[in-house]
């Protein structure tokens, strides 16, 4: 075993992919300097600035550049520094990258990865804290990946780089420097395969990204304080979604809580809830509960941001409401 961090796992996976495949290159704002969270630190030193390309702040154009390079046989890994700025890249992602394979009748493929990061909790205010994954999951042709732990962040990134489709991998800024014990050799991970991180008979909690850790903490409290055994599933990839594993769990527990940091309204939790009730309505003993942020932008003010963010307390309360109705 070894201790590492989420961001080191990402950096290591990038370096590994670049060593293994000449077609892999990295581009984005400040990537040669390592970026604001050091995710690309050291890559320019090892691979040179021809393959670790600093770009101007031109999200639309650099996304197009990555698409063109991918269509021409390269394997670009584009960094969009904050997911908040994916807004500027959406035309290229939605109208070009996601549709090129389909619209060309299968002639073109776009094997590119967009690495970006989201999430609040660092007093970044409304334009540097968002969780925008549900927009991307709504676009046929894109794959969407959200690692929660160092142990599979590397495998998920490697699988995303190998994938022949455009993949958006959304990291979480509050997880970057979280320490984690991992095996010396990080495991391979397939896109579309969830991880059941805790087994339990009473309720299924499906949590995304940072909320995975809150869900695990909540599960420990529920076990200790209430004798409730929660099963915690990290889907790891939203598109494709490992619905089968979630349904199988719900068929045993009969209760489902879906938890993410994004605004609950129109969030990906709604999609999971809808799919589970379609597939396993007869097994559910209670309505699916969604946990997400309120329908408001992320506030700057520290107490307001803390109150805004869903966490372990909300998960505990939701599970108690489901399992121990008044």
């Amino acid at each position: 075993m070894a201790e590492t961090t989420y961001v080191k796992a990402i950096t290591g996976a990038l370096a590994e992919a670049m060593r293994a495949d000449d077609r892999v290159f990295v581009l984005g704002e400040d990537v040669a300097e390592g970026g604001p969270y050091t995710a690309t630190a050291g890559l320019a030193e090892e691979f040179g600035t021809a393959r670790v390309i600093d770009t101007p702040i031109s999200e639309a154009a650099i996304t197009g550049v990555a698409i063109g390079a991918a269509q021409s046989g390269m394997r670009p890994v584009l960094e969009i520094m904050f997911v908040d700025f994916v807004t500027l890249a959406l035309d290229q992602l939605v109208n070009a990258a996601a549709k090129a394979h389909f619209m060309s009748g299968g002639q073109l493929t776009v094997p590119m990865v967009v690495r970006t990061q989201g999430g609040a909790g660092q007093r970044g205010a409304a334009q540097h804290s968002q969780s925008l994954e549900s927009w991307l999951t709504h676009v046929p042709g894109l794959k969407v990946v959200m690692p929660s732990r160092a142990v599979d962040a590397a495998g998920l990134l490697a699988a995303s780089i190998r994938d022949p489709n455009p993949v958006v991998l959304i990291e979480n800024k509050t997880l970057y420097f979280r320490r984690e014990e991992v095996p010396d050799e990080l495991p391979a991970v397939e896109l579309g395969v969830s991880a059941t991180l805790r087994e339990g008979r009473d309720v299924t909690i499906v949590a995304l990204s940072r909320l995975v850790h809150d869900a695990l903490a909540a599960a420990e409290r529920l076990a200790a304080e209430d004798g409730i055994e929660a099963e915690v599933i990290d889907p790891r990839t939203l598109v494709p979604l490992d619905l089968a594993a979630i349904v199988k769990s719900v068929q045993r527990t009969s209760r489902l809580v879906v938890a993410h940091e994004a605004v609950a309204h129109g969030g990906f939790g709604a999609e999971i809830a809808a799919q589970v009730q379609s597939a396993a309505f007869d097994f559910l003993d209670a309505p699916v509960v969604r946990i997400g942020a309120p329908f408001a932008p992320v506030p700057l003010s520290a107490p307001l941001e803390d109150a805004y963010l869903p966490g372990a307390d909300e998960v505990v309360a939701a599970v108690r409401g489901l399992v121990m109705p008044p």
């Binding site: 290159f25 021809a50 393959r51 770009t55 101007p56 031109s58 639309a60 154009a61 650099i62 996304t63 197009g64 550049v65 990555a66 698409i67 063109g68 390079a69 991918a70 269509q71 021409s72 046989g73 390269m74 670009p76 035309d91 290229q92 109208n95 070009a96 090129a100 394979h101 389909f102 619209m103 060309s104 009748g105 299968g106 002639q107 073109l108 493929t109 094997p111 046929p140 042709g141 794959k143 190998r162 994938d163 022949p164 489709n165």
Partner: protein, 324 residues
């Protein structure tokens, strides 16, 4: 480096290409009015000379991108008329199996990497293909066609900045027909010439009469030779004239119709024929033979397209993601 000027054999090949485009698009117009060809269809009648002069000098492995007015560029790059027509009719044997249509033509085999319905959207994507050439160390040259309407979009400026910063082998070919959709250029910008718009970026650039095929051939050929040797980027602004409306069915009431003789003076086909005759490259009868051969090919393409089946419904699921 001085490239050889257009010779007689090349000129006749260009004429054949231009006739194929002209007659193909006239047929598309008829099929659209008959509700056989679908989608938002934009023809380039009157602008064929640029497509022919540029694409005929490229190799199959040179990636070419276009915008929404793309039939001519695809055909000039080598896309077969029959499968291109089948695409416009939404058929399974279309270039893109009927899933793309007029604004999304792609023919990878001939290096036609794609049209787009997003104005200027392919400009950065073409730069990405040029970057791929640089990273691989090959001598392919990327070319992107766009209209003057794209020049007012932010992604155009972002791309020109990057292209010049990185000195990539990209030739930007602007077809300046003076209209952005329905509105004259003068209503959208105070800068009349696209070459003036990009001047601060410092790239080599030129404005030519895009309906003068000989001039367009020469200007593009010079840039291509330098780009092939690793130079770039370049911008070639081709002043041209769109004989039709913005889209098929547009009554184009927003501008004055050209008098027939005025058009004769602008028509790139007529002008190249006159030039070829004056140079003694061909006799009058040969021009008719070229036109008639193109007409036959277009007729065959229409027959092929009509006979091709519609794609199977399960294609929808099959092609959303690539396997791998």
């Amino acid at each position: 480096m001085v490239e050889p000027p257009l010779d007689g054999a090349q000129a006749l090949r260009l004429l054949a290409t231009m006739w194929r485009i002209r007659l193909f698009e006239e047929a598309v117009g008829r099929l659209a009015r008959a509700d056989e060809a679908h989608g938002l269809i934009h023809t380039s009648v009157g602008q064929e000379g640029i497509a022919a002069a540029v694409c005929s000098q490229l190799r199959d492995d040179d990636p070419v991108y276009s915008g929404h007015r793309a039939h001519g560029h695809a055909i000039a790059k080598g896309a077969p008329l029959d499968r291109t027509m089948a695409e416009l009719l939404g058929r399974d044997e279309g270039l893109c199996r009927g899933l793309g249509g007029s604004m999304h033509l792609v023919d990878v085999e001939h290096g036609f990497m794609g049209a787009t319905g997003v104005v200027g959207g392919n400009v950065p994507i073409a730069l990405g293909s040029a970057l791929a050439a640089r990273l691989r160390g090959d001598d392919t040259v990327a070319v992107v066609f766009f209209g003057d309407g794209a020049v007012q979009a932010g992604h155009f400026h972002e791309t020109v900045n990057l292209a010049t910063l990185w000195r990539l082998p990209l030739v930007l070919v602007c077809e300046n027909n003076g209209f952005a959709e329905f509105t004259p250029r003068s209503a959208h910008t105070n800068v009349e010439r696209v070459t003036d718009v990009v001047a601060p970026y410092g790239l080599a650039r030129d404005t030519v009469d895009g309906n003068d095929v000989v001039a367009t051939w020469d200007a593009f050929g010079r840039y291509l030779a330098t780009a092939r040797a690793g130079g770039g980027p370049f911008l070639l602004e081709c002043l041209t004239y769109r004989l039709g409306g913005h889209y098929e069915g547009d009554p184009a009431a927003y501008r004055e119709a050209l008098a027939a003789e005025e058009w004769q003076a602008k028509d790139p086909i007529v002008r190249l024929q006159r030039h070829a005759a004056a140079e003694g490259w061909a006799a009058e009868g040969e021009f008719e033979a070229i036109r008639s051969e193109a007409a036959d090919a277009v007729d065959q393409a229409v027959a092929f397209a009509r006979a091709s089946p519609f794609p199977p419904a399960d294609l929808l699921e099959e092609l959303v993601y690539a396997d791998g």
